[in-house]
């Protein structure tokens, strides 16, 4: 479950048409959401409020074993009035990170119009500050003289993060005062090139696009039609990226490259949803084959999926993920980590299951003797009020009811039998996230455990003992 502030920031991004997926940072967002979710390990209470359309604050208090907490404030000059902020009304799918449907990185609308915020003449700005209680490690660092100052984190650091989304590409720059860390990230989307064979249309578009006052005639947009259509019908997206970090002080170097292949949401998901009932699901390999082999303009009948491959050439770490969303309520993901140097490997499986309100089952039953019994005592009321709402209103109401009852369960297990489960849903008007993590303790494993006498109880080292943590996080927002 996203913290409220992160949710507001996401909404801010959505309000300013920011495409989070077009960033190297989010290359593996789908698999991370399903496979690397964090389970709370204490009781945490979040109280948040979107006090005005531009101002939000949030208070966090966690207490179990240790006390921690934070106070956050946020200001945005973009009105967030239409962002649902009350905990019963926030769509859970926006609050819980799950399978991310990758959108086309180039807004087709941008080809025809400018960004509205720019049109208003001022830049969307968001200020966010968090004052957190120092973590226990920091407190012990204050009181203890044993920690050398050189290796510890500096008491304060500033991180600057500049992102530029160019549609076909995305580039980010990072600079941190902590050890003067510098970082660059870049992402390139393949197959997004504008057609070079139509210079006339391009120049026309460039001229006309440069002067936003003049509306673009539809026929001119139609002049772009081959490119436009090709993008619109593009079924999938291949992206490649890299990141590089360097700190001149401590000579820390970090480097990784990544590759992502994902089906595009705008094409696949709607058709998938429509055809889901009529068509049986295809296997993943068949889906992959059809996605690769089918013509671009043929709408896919398969389900969305995302594949990523990341490589850290410095330490030889390879990670490949495959995430799939067979139904709108289920997402599966798997990841295989491998290190070419140490040959360490790990395989992780995870699932994300959305559960909604049970569909309203008809309580009309036909008994053996043929009499029809309507067990729903309120059926007549429903019949009478059936026409009170317009279909649109009824859809809204149903959606709200469904939203209030939906919850999501995430499960993860890896080959070391580390099992995690997280449930997020609503209890009354509170957003509750409860998680449990269970992992085996093997006697011969880590050094710390080896010294623990209770972990040595297993005779042959084969029998496993289990350890785990349980936590719950409760959020209320207005």
């Amino acid at each position: 479950m996203l913290p409220f502030m992160d949710y507001v920031i996401r909404e801010f991004g959505a309000a300013t048409d920011w495409n989070y997926d077009n960033s190297y940072s989010f290359l593996t967002a789908t698999s991370d959401a399903i496979l690397s979710f964090q389970t709370p390990n204490s009781a945490t209470l979040h109280v948040s409020s979107l006090a005005s359309s531009n101002f939000a604050n949030s208070y966090t208090l966690g207490a179990l074993g240790q006390l921690d907490g934070s106070i956050s404030y946020l200001y945005s000059n973009v009105s967030l009035a239409d962002v649902p902020s009350q905990s019963p009304s926030i769509p859970l799918r926006r609050l819980v990170e799950g399978y991310r449907d990758v959108c086309l990185p180039v807004k087709l609308e941008e080809l025809s119009r400018a960004v509205p915020a720019l049109k208003e003449g001022r830049k969307p700005t968001l200020l966010h500050a968090t004052l957190a209680l120092p973590p226990p490690s920091a407190l012990t660092a204050f009181t203890s003289i044993a920690i050398p100052a050189a290796t510890g984190a500096p008491p304060a650091s500033v991180l600057a993060h500049v992102q530029h989304d160019g549609g076909r590409y995305s580039i980010e720059g990072l600079a941190s005062t902590d050890n003067a860390l510098l970082g660059v990230r870049g992402l390139w989307n393949f197959g997004m090139g504008k057609p070079v064979k139509e210079p006339d249309s391009m120049s026309t578009l460039a001229e006309l696009g440069g002067s936003p006052d003049i509306p673009i005639p539809p026929q001119l947009v139609d002049g772009l039609s081959p490119y436009y259509r090709r993008l619109k019908s593009k079924p999938s997206l291949l992206s490649a990226g890299a990141e590089f970090y360097y700190t001149p002080y401590s000579h820390v170097i970090g480097l990784s490259t990544g590759l992502r292949f994902a089906t595009l949401a705008s094409h696949i998901t709607p058709t998938d949803n429509k055809k889901r009932s009529s068509k049986p699901f295809a296997g993943t390999s068949a889906a992959l084959t059809s996605a690769l082999l089918a013509p671009a303009n043929v709408s896919q009948s398969s389900f969305p999926y995302t594949m990523t491959l990341t490589l850290n050439p410095i330490i030889g770490a390879l990670a490949s993920t495959y995430s799939v969303k067979p139904t709108s309520n289920l997402a599966l993901s798997s990841r295989f980590d491998f290190n070419v140097y140490s040959w360490e490997s790990q395989y992780t499986l995870g699932a994300e299951i959305w559960r909604g309100r049970k569909p309203h089952t008809s309580k009309i039953r036909v008994l053996e003797d043929g009499t029809v019994v309507n067990e729903d005592n309120l059926a007549w009321i429903r019949n009478r009020t059936k026409d009170w709402f317009t279909p649109e209103e009824r859809a809204l109401k149903d959606e709200r009811l469904e939203r209030e009852h939906e919850n999501v369960v995430k499960v993860r297990v890896d080959d070391g039998w580390n099992i995690s489960a997280l449930w997020t849903g609503r209890i009354k008007s509170l957003l509750v996230s409860a998680g449990v993590t269970v992992s085996p303790v093997d006697g011969g494993g880590g050094g710390i455990l080896k010294r623990n006498p209770s972990a040595m109880l297993d005779e042959d080292g084969r029998r496993k003992r289990w350890t785990g943590k349980v936590g719950v996080s409760i959020a209320y927002s207005t």
Partner: protein, 636 residues
């Protein structure tokens, strides 16, 4: 002066390296490890090599048998090496992120993926140069402090030798760690190891002090080797191996009597402490009978009574120890000892007290000196209060008065005497001294035809001899009282007969009624039986027994054949209170012994002079008869 540093035996001990590895492993994992190390640091191999470090003695500020403090200059370029194993995080960015809060961290996608690598590091070619302050004491173990950073250079060879970047990093990190190890951890490790080595020694300190009182041989011939204690220590506090214990025999007196069970001694010490404090805890000592203190006044005279208890050797050993330690000035032995050996006066520590205590191992001296100061109970048989202190003659008058006027038990004895003596400013002049008339010599003299001739307390002689000023004060203080005493002599003369007899009784009795309740279990029943016998035999007609007074003594002698060396018929021999000097077990060294012998001869000569001059004859009747009353009796 030469020092012998043994380097090779350190590495010869097979258990040494294992222990050292464990300690080093513990020390290395105790502190918060750098984030790059993701596993425990395990010391895999340790070898001190065979090249010893060069030590140059810079300064020795304190040296003794059990302590040493010196400064050395050490330089080492040997072939010691140590191999440690751990697992490290090979991705520095991962390490970087682990140590940072997540709020403003540049969350990299995959650049921070971890790679843990098992690492084996061999540290060799140590080049150390340091100024070491070494402090050793038996109590506190060995402490080594480096005054400067001792590490000059070392060679770090690891699995990353081929990667210069990592190798340099490791070298840097390890040198830093090693410096803290040398400066902080190594002294602690060495100290712990030394404590482990000398912990029995540490405990034995207290027992060594307790051993001052230990002596069983003149009480009963209990063979301590019949059931040797489980954790024997010798007189110097060092633990004895079973072979050494077996090598001891009853014949070698000075060895075996100092063979005590540490546990028992500690118990006795606890008992002593519980008497001296408000502690209600009483250790459980088998076959022991405890007697409560007789009264607050007696408790008030703790120093004196402690000193007096030294006269009952077996029973009040630890008590007398305490008295010796804390109130050394009040005991005759230590005072004379100190005055005899002025050079050692400042060293009146537990050690010298130990030797003093062992003086009393001498059979004869203790017999008679068992007479204690406080003995003011109403006599059960006569109903007469004999509250007479042997202490000061100033007290004598009043005590005699009380004795004649009241039947109630009068608790009155040393404290006034002690307080009267104390203001003289001579801490060596003790309330203790009057007790010496109770020695067998005096008794035997009382049995001689001149019963009125009182000997002056020998301590006065002693003091006179050693410290003229203070002894003269004592003389003045005591002589008027003697005259005063003489005035009432007629009454007392008659009474003294009774007292003499009672003194005999009490003499025997006092063996079993020690104030300190420090009891050697096995001896008690036998002793009691003897005393009961003698008491019953001679208690009936008290007055008529004056001439027979030596007889109980003799009978008891028969019961305790060990005591026969000194008899009542040897009045001209060296006084008993001085006999300890000749005891070979007293002296620490030959020279000391010879010196003590000489002084003893001198003292004896003076003593004889004084005696023949008749100066003792005067009146200290009460002092001789001080303890007529049988102590509150558990004995019967």
């Amino acid at each position: 002066m030469a020092f012998n540093f043994n380097w090779a035996p350190l590495s010869g001990d097979p258990g040494f390296y294992k222990r050292a590895e464990e300690l080093l492993t513990d020390a290395m994992n105790k502190n918060e490890k750098p984030a790059i190390i993701v596993d425990d640091i395990i010391v895999n191999e340790l070898n001190l090599g065979d090249v010893p470090p060069d030590l140059e003695v810079v300064e020795i500020s304190d040296i003794g048998v059990d302590k040493f403090r010196g400064t050395f200059k050490m330089s080492y370029a040997g072939n010691a090496f140590i191999t440690i194993k751990t697992r490290v995080q090979a991705n520095p960015l991962n390490t970087y992120l682990v140590t940072r809060p997540t709020y403003a961290s540049p969350r990299p996608l995959a650049a921070a993926a971890g790679l843990t690598i098992p690492l084996q590091i061999t540290l060799s070619d140590f080049k150390l140069s340091a100024i070491i302050i070494l402090v050793f004491s038996r109590q506190k173990g060995l402490t080594i402090v480096f005054r400067n950073d001792p590490l000059e250079s070392l060679k770090v060879s690891s699995t990353f030798d081929s990667i210069p970047f990592v190798a340099n990093y490791l070298q840097e990190v390890i040198e830093g760690q090693l410096r803290t190890l040398f400066m902080d951890e190594l002294p602690a490790i060495i100290h712990r190891m030394s404590l482990r080595l000398w912990v029995p020694e540490h405990k034995a300190i207290e027992e060594r002090a307790l051993m001052t009182e230990e002596d069983t041989q003149d009480e009963l011939s209990v063979d301590p080797l019949a059931s040797p204690p489980r954790d024997p220590v010798d007189s110097s506090g060092a633990t004895l191996t079973p072979q050494e214990v077996a090598a001891l025999s009853l014949d070698s007196h000075r060895d075996y009597h100092s063979l005590f069970s540490r546990k028992n001694l500690l118990r006795l010490a606890t008992l002593t402490d519980s008497h001296r404090t408000l502690s209600l805890f009483t250790p459980n000592i088998r076959d022991a009978v405890f007697r409560a203190w007789t009264g607050p006044l007696e408790r008030g005279e703790v120093p004196g009574s402690h000193a007096s208890k030294t006269t009952t050797p077996a029973l009040s050993r630890s008590q007398s120890y305490v008295g010796n330690i804390h109130k050394t000035a009040y005991t005759f032995d230590s005072s004379s000892h100190a005055s005899l050996r002025p050079a050692l006066h400042s060293q009146q520590s537990s050690l010298s007290v130990t030797s003093l205590g062992s003086h009393r191992l001498k059979p004869h001296g203790n017999r008679k000196r068992k007479k204690r100061v406080v003995n003011l109970r109403k006599s059960a048989t006569t109903g007469e209060v004999e509250a007479i202190s042997e202490d000061g003659s100033t007290v004598t008058d009043s005590t005699s008065v009380t004795g004649s006027t009241s039947d109630s038990p009068v608790v009155f004895s040393v404290p006034p005497g002690a307080s009267s003596f104390e203001p003289t400013g001579d801490p060596v002049t003790p309330p203790r001294s009057p007790r010496f008339p109770a020695s067998p010599l005096h008794q035997s003299q009382e049995a001689t035809p001149q019963p009125h001739r009182r000997q002056r307390p020998p301590s006065h002689i002693d003091l006179n001899f050693t410290q003229p000023g203070s002894s003269s004060v004592n003389h003045e203080a005591s002589s008027p009282s003697w005259t005063g005493d003489a005035t009432i002599r007629p009454r007392r003369a008659q009474r003294r007969v009774v007292k003499l007899n009672r003194e005999q009784q009490h003499d025997q009795d006092s063996d079993e009624t020690p104030r300190a309740s420090m009891i050697l279990p096995e001896q008690r029943p036998r002793q009691q039986s003897h005393h009961d016998l003698s008491e019953h035999a001679y208690q009936g007609p008290p007055v008529t027994h004056v001439p027979h007074s030596p007889q109980p003594y003799m009978s008891r002698k028969a019961a305790l054949p060990e005591l026969s060396t000194a008899g009542p018929s040897q009045p001209a021999t060296l006084p008993n209170f001085l006999s300890f000097i000749t005891d070979s077990s007293n002296s620490q060294s030959i020279a000391e012994r010879a010196w003590m012998m000489k002084m003893a001869a001198e003292v004896a000569r003076r003593y004889e002079d004084e005696r023949t001059k008749g100066r003792f004859g005067a009146p200290s009747t009460p002092s001789a008869n001080g303890e007529d009353n049988p102590p509150p009796a558990y004995a019967r």
